[in-house]
Amino acid sequence: MKKLIALVLAMMLLVPALAMAEDVVKIGVFEPASGSNGAGGKQETLGVQYANYMNPTVVINGTEYKVELVIADNGSDDAKAPSAAQNIISAGASIALGSYGSSVSKAGSKTFKDADVPVIGLTCTNPQVTAGNSHYFRVCFLDPFQGTVLANYAFKELGVKTAYCLGELGNDYDQGLINYFKEAFEALGGTVIAEPFPADTQDFTSYLNNSAAYGAEVFFCPVSVKYATAIIQQASSQGLEIPVLGGDTLDNNMVAEAAKGTNVKVIITTFYQEGANKEFDDGFKAWLNANPEMLTNNGGNDMIAAVSVMGYDGYMMALAALQSAGTTDSAAVMAALPTTEIDGISGHIKFDETGDAIRTAAFVKKINNESGEWEFVAEQTVE
């Protein structure tokens, strides 16, 4: 017992050394590597890692700093988010990137805020992430925008009048996007039926039956990759005839894989379409193929996920902010962020007053059922 107490006391005194080497700047990567969003989180992290590989140093105020990534797994779990965030903060990160999934982003937000560490959201599209937060920025578009794009596309291009929406209970991203989709779609004159499913559901057959029973003409499920693949496979075996519509989360090679060889039409909106920047695409693919571990994290092939691109752009944004701040002090970086602009892979990025990137276009893609690859459909804008 005495030994134990001694051990505990000794450990407590072992406060992590905060002083670090002179010429290192740390960037936190606040992403899920496990849990329901693990797959997406890993791809997003890949983008950041690739950017770090391409740009391992940054010159701040005349000194060359080595950029070190502090990767913390938030487990797609709100309860783990604060400690993962604290991990990044205690490592001395000047700025953090993340997270895939709006819920976790919100859950970690306050911890970053209290420590004065700015965060750049990469693909968390829920408006609440940045609303009212001076420390949270974001390089992607927002759900009200994405929801409207999807509603317009479904109503005008697909010509459907009834939509069935399915989202995970308790997932801010799913529920938020469905909500904005519903608003826009109903404003256009369509009918929306929305249902939630409990977390960890595996059997979606009854929900697919529901959509048919309601006479829906499109099946909108902006869910995580894990659920999306299951839904598509079950849709295929049940012979679902209506198209499946999704948000940026479905832009994933596993989803494409699932739809390969089936008759399920999958249409999504996303941030980036492979082929838009050849130099980036080739570089990224070469890097993936050179690292078996990275290739596994990307889902086993070298298809480029839009979230990886956002990870890359977020990293570049962070470097730009560090440069314009002229110091590694996190508060100064936060002050510099609103005025920082870059030309990213996904387009020009500039923040508005809430800290959201000003975006006017989203890419619409669909899966080619024969090749199992994403195909560009249109670039959709909303005024």
Binding site: L169, P198, N209, A212
Partner: protein, 307 residues
Amino acid sequence: MWDTIFPYLLSGISVGGQYALIAIGYTMVYGILRLINFAHGDVFMVSAIIMVYIMASGLPMWICIPLVLLITVAIGFLIERAAYKPLRSAPRMSVMISAIGVSYTLQNLVLYITGGLNKQYPTIPWISDTMQIGAAKTKIVTVVTPFLVILLVVALVLLINRTKIGMAMRAVSKDFETSQLMGIKINNVISATFIIGSFLAGVGSILFFTNYPTVIQTSGAMPGLKAFVAAVFGGIGSIPGAVIGAFIIGIMENIIKGLDVILFKLGVIQAPLGLATFSDAFTFALLIVILVVKPSGLFGEKVTDKV
């Protein structure tokens, strides 16, 4: 109306059959050790993960399936030897905690091996094919499941009623100590129980994940709990009870998911109420009702404590 309800019934019967195969493992172990084997659902999940990796190795199907079942059985056997046998004389709470610990360990182990990513269950020929029944389209496995379950249950009941090991099992579940005094090798009987339970969970796993082909470390938890509820519902210790309980729960659960639609079609409600939220909770509500009204379940025997 029938056309509306039929697809839900079909899903319910299929998933019910898969729960039944897990529930038998629960009910047999409980009957003998009076232990809720919390890890049983995870054995079911681990079996699926093993299938994923073995199929990926490129072995032919006719080797893979028996191999997976064999490994699943071995895991069930090892869990009993490693985590439950040392606690044979310990209070029941300790054994239950050990079971929870095993469940936790298996899940974390799978998390580590898969890196937290969901795995795609391999396609097994024929049963993965789609077929048309009436208005509904479904995989062949959906239809095969109930028949396979009945076949396995008949075989199991024969085993328990006609063989020596079956007789030993019945004796042990009636009275643990006395049967030990009568020279029954208690450890062998318990191992046999775990082997049978794991085997059925392995078969259930093939059927379940062929239908719902995404495997992740938490995949076993819910089906496991529901199967346990089914076992309690049918009367723990009773194999036909567990099977009937499992079918009832599977069907009810899917009806709940479609209840909004059914009510909508009947004109009872104008907009969905979001009742699907309760599809899991309903199972547990059913459990509590049955425990309060008839704690011995549909087919269980009442036990009185001796003072």
